[in-house]
């Protein structure tokens, strides 16, 4: 349950729980939507790095108290999964709460940030790594880890089961925490019923964007054929505009996400034996409610070899020729009433657009995070790439790529030589 710590790098780990301060009304239940259940094998892991001032002078109880207040408005997060008689999972809102870990790191934050440039997988020690299972009724869906660095800085590590919501809703949860710390009252209407799309469309085959996994039973994690490794790099503002201008053709301007994704798609195609002709794109919908799984999921099919293509063609495909997959995904779940297990991220090479995510709006006592990193655990074998905003003062983007470990070095090399990144 608690990940083994690399030889004392992270030490003094303490485990407890934080729940809502007030009792919930009894017998409250939340039914996850079909889209929610499609994402249940994925876990969002976010790490927010704060400087010394944010948490200076605070005791553990001081840190826990705003969570007790905030969680009054998040009964779903505080609940635990059960299975209905049909086998479909639902959440019993029983006030159980989120798991709370306290840890210390023997490095200063600056040393740590240097270390993860070489080895991004070290970041897994800053987030709790418990999955939902083997007993889903006793597994928390959200876990928080507060790690104190030698210099006094603090990292807030969030483990967020994707079945609860997308990265935008995870960011919203922490942003609201910041508001509670500042003394504001979170005014969140509590909804327990998710909206599902209309009735089952018969005889639809599985969409391209998903892959059937398992069955994993009550161990909600993807089983990979190859070990996945994460690596991240930042693209600063200058590099970004250079990249965009290189890629932009005639009249079309491409967003940073499209530009970066096109480039990476081509690099991955170069290093893989069989080119990834189909990729999945996930991005925020126009009016993202930051509550639940509301991403736009689409696939892009390339009809020609990727390696020889012009990256602007690839970017063009991503921008304009994506097929919306949401209904099909929901249908795949509806077919057997949510019992089966699907993989979305990594079923094909997946690109997730988190440009608009409000990660840097998490304000703790007037301090914003110096750096935010997000990754996903449970990505399938084809890999996934996440494009997040970089630290505001740099103005660029952070890219987190999760790929089979044997591809990582080659990709890093490819990106360096072709695109002067990294």
């Amino acid at each position: 349950m608690v990940s083994s710590m690399a030889e004392g790098l992270i030490y003094d780990v303490k485990l407890s729980s934080v729940g809502p301060g007030n009792a919930i009304e009894p017998d409250m239940v939340h039914e996850p939507s079909d889209m929610d259940l499609a994402m249940k094998l994925h876990y969002l892991k976010g790490i927010y790095y704060f400087g010394k001032q944010a948490f200076e002078g605070l005791t553990t109880i001081n840190i826990k108290e705003p969570l007790f207040i905030l969680l009054n408005d998040f009964p779903v997060i505080c609940g635990r999964f059960r299975r209905a008689e049909s086998g479909r999972p639902y959440i019993k809102c029983n006030d159980c709460g989120v798991r709370f870990l306290e840890a210390k790191c023997e490095k200063t934050m600056d040393e740590w940030l240097e270390m993860i440039k070489e080895n991004a997988s070290l970041e897994k020690y800053l987030t709790p790594n418990q999955i939902i299972g083997p007993e889903i009724a006793f597994s928390p869906t959200v876990l928080l880890q507060y790690t104190k660095f030698k210099c006094g800085g603090m990292s807030v590590g969030l483990s967020w089961a994707h079945v609860l919501g997308d990265a935008f809703s995870a960011a919203e949860f922490l942003n609201l925490l910041g508001k509670v710390v500042a003394g504001e009252k979170p005014n969140r209407p509590i909804k327990t019923k998710s909206t599902n799309s209309e009735s089952l469309l018969k005889d639809m085959e599985d969409p391209l964007s998903v892959k059937r996994a398992g069955p994993v039973g009550d161990n909600w994690i993807t089983v990979n054929n190859s070990k996945m490794e994460a690596f991240s790099f930042s693209v600063n503002a200058a590099q970004l505009s250079h990249l965009q201008s290189k890629i932009s053709s005639n009249a079309t301007d491409f967003s940073p996400f499209e530009a970066i994704s096109a480039v990476i798609w081509q690099c991955v195609a170069k290093i893989r034996e069989s080119e990834p002709k189909v990729v999945t794109i996930c991005k925020m919908m126009e009016q993202n409610k930051a509550d639940g799984n509301n991403q736009l999921m689409s696939v892009v099919k390339a009809a020609y070899p990727i390696v020889e293509a012009n990256p602007s063609e690839l970017a063009e495909l991503m921008k304009n020729s994506a097929f919306d997959q949401r209904e099909k995904i929901e249908n795949a779940i509806k077919k057997d009433n949510g019992v089966s297990d699907l993989i979305v991220y990594g079923a094909n090479l997946t690109f997730v657009n988190l440009e608009e995510a409000k990660f840097y709006e998490f304000d703790y006592r007037g301090e914003k995070p110096v750096y935010v990193s997000y990754r996903v655990d449970g990505v399938g074998d084809e890999g996934a790439v996440f494009v997040l905003p970089g630290p505001p003062k740099n103005g660029g983007m952070t890219v987190m790529a999760i790929l089979p470990e044997n591809e990582v070095t080659e990709l890093k090399l490819e990106l360096k030589t072709e695109w002067f990144m990294d």
Partner: protein
């Protein structure tokens, strides 16, 4: 119908027998005097020769008797006010969290986890009880520092609240008694209070430890005795139980029970024998009756602190607990009955007793109707079984035991301070009226059964502060036999 009125008539007759005898006699005397006529009365009056010396001696005698009477009368002890600790929301422990932690801590003993779940389902506790911060950890982290931290938080908070209510200054406190059964550091908790509030150097301080859940009333008894000896004084009594160092870390079932029931709580009470407090005090102490069954081996061992086979220390509750509690209660009632019951009930009890001895021992023993003697009952919220047993034995209605059940639900078993949470409930519901009599009953290891009888001294406005302030409107709640977890 008829027996009811017969009983009512009997009650009025016997309870007011003196009045019933007095009135006819007075009537007869007045009629005699009136028949005599005014001149004859004057003649009788003049015939009584009054010598100065006789008048002086008589008045001296009267003054002497009056003085002896007033001097030897025990001082009236008043409860000026009291305050209970309200735990912060960060200490809250819902059932689901308790069970999840239990599964993680006792992962090698699923039977023990199952046992705890069954206890919790039937315990009568609610979802808002509190445990101290150290016990929230997986596994719990009971250091001495954490225990002291809990003691400081609960005791100082209650005392601060009491000082604000009574407007008493620390320098005015003459006697300090702190009772906490299972945590007894050096320096003592009473020394901790003296240090924090800078109490006087000639304070009479006492620290009672090891005396169980009934120690609260033992402290009140001690305070009363001290206030008889020291005139014009007041006494601060603090009752609490510190959970942190006593959370059982093993897996023996009989010893896991306290973990499921004991919760954080404390109360601070100000007693006084000063004339000036007579009008502002809330309650007057009428009786304290203490019964100790320790002479019986089974009673002595029924709540026993010991090490389990793995060497972990915990409190073992024997299966005979309820039977022994019943016997201790009977003992206590036998002593307190004559002190508080009206004459009608005592006579009935006497007749039934004589009847059973002489005529027919198959007669059911008469259980005096204590509802005649008291308006309110505060039964220590030791557990659902205790309250059920007492309700049955004393033939009390659901409303009489409501304060106890609701305190168990909202705060759990807070040990010696639970009686004060219950009293606070009755006040918060606006049910306390001037002249009401209250019976507090506490049970504790030993095995002891202690009672205190109070009388409400003045009109009590429904309080706007106190531990029930934010939730009293939700109470009473229906507590199901078994809560489905």
């Amino acid at each position: 119908m008829l027996p009811k009125y017969v009983k009512l008539g009997y009650r009025y007759l016997v309870d007011h027998i003196l009045t019933f005898l007095f009135i006819p006699i007075m009537a007869a005397v007045s009629i005699q005097i009136l028949r005599l006529g005014p001149e004859e009365i004057l003649t009788i009056w003049n015939s009584l020769q009054f010598y100065f010396f006789q008048i002086l001696c008589s008045s001296f005698l009267v003054t002497l008797i009056a003085t002896v009477y007033f001097m030897s009368k025990p001082r009236s002890i008043y409860l000026v006010d009291y305050a209970c600790y309200k735990p912060p929301i960060t200490s809250r422990v819902p059932f689901s969290t308790f069970m999840e932690h239990s599964r993680l801590i006792l992962k090698d003993n699923p039977k023990s986890v199952e046992f705890q779940m069954r206890i919790l389902e039937r315990s009568g506790l609610g979802e808002e009880t509190s445990l101290p911060p150290a016990i929230h950890y997986i596994p719990p982290n009971p250091t001495m520092e954490a225990a002291r931290g809990e003691a400081e938080a609960v005791i100082f908070s209650a005392i601060d609240s009491l000082m604000q209510k009574t407007r008493i200054k620390p320098k005015d406190i003459d006697i300090l008694i702190v009772n906490c059964s299972l945590f007894s550091p050096t320096p003592s908790l009473s020394a901790m209070v003296v240090n924090k509030y800078r109490l006087r150097s000639n304070i009479k301080s006492f620290n009672l430890s090891g005396m169980g859940c009934s120690a609260g009333l033992i402290s009140i008894d001690l305070a009363r005795d001290l206030l008889q000896v020291h005139p014009n004084s007041n006494a601060l009594v603090v009752s609490t139980e510190i959970i942190t160092p006593n959370y059982y870390q093993g897996s023996e079932r009989a010893m896991l029970l306290p973990n499921c029931l004991f919760r954080v709580g404390s109360a601070a009470i100000l007693l006084s024998n000063k004339r000036g407090d007579r009008n502002r005090a809330k309650y007057k102490l009428v009786h304290v009756v203490r019964t100790h069954k320790g002479a019986d081996d089974k009673a002595y061992k029924c709540v026993y602190e010991q090490e389990d086979p793995q060497g972990k220390v915990g409190i073992n509750l024997s299966k005979d607990l309820m039977i022994i509690a019943g016997e201790a209660l009977k003992s206590n009632i036998t002593t307190i009955g004559p002190l508080v019951l009206p004459a009608s009930e005592q006579l009935l009890f006497l007749f039934t007793l004589i009847g059973r001895k002489i005529f027919n021992s198959k007669w059911k023993p008469y259980i005096p109707d204590f509802k005649q003697a008291f308006e309110h009952f505060c039964i220590h919220a030791g557990g659902r079984a205790v309250i059920d047993e007492l309700q049955k034995n004393l033939q009390l209605s659901a409303e009489h035991v409501e304060a106890s059940r609701m305190t168990l639900h909202r705060f759990g078993n807070t040990s010696s301070s639970s009686l004060w949470y219950e009293l606070s409930y009755i006040e918060a519901k606006g049910r306390m009226k001037k002249g009401d009599r209250i019976w507090q009953i506490a049970f504790g290891s030993g095995f002891k059964c202690n009672s205190a009888v109070w009388k409400c001294n003045r009109r009590i406005k429904t309080p706007t502060d106190g531990p029930w302030q934010d939730c009293i409107n939700r109470y009473p709640v229906h507590i199901p036999e078994i809560v489905k977890l």
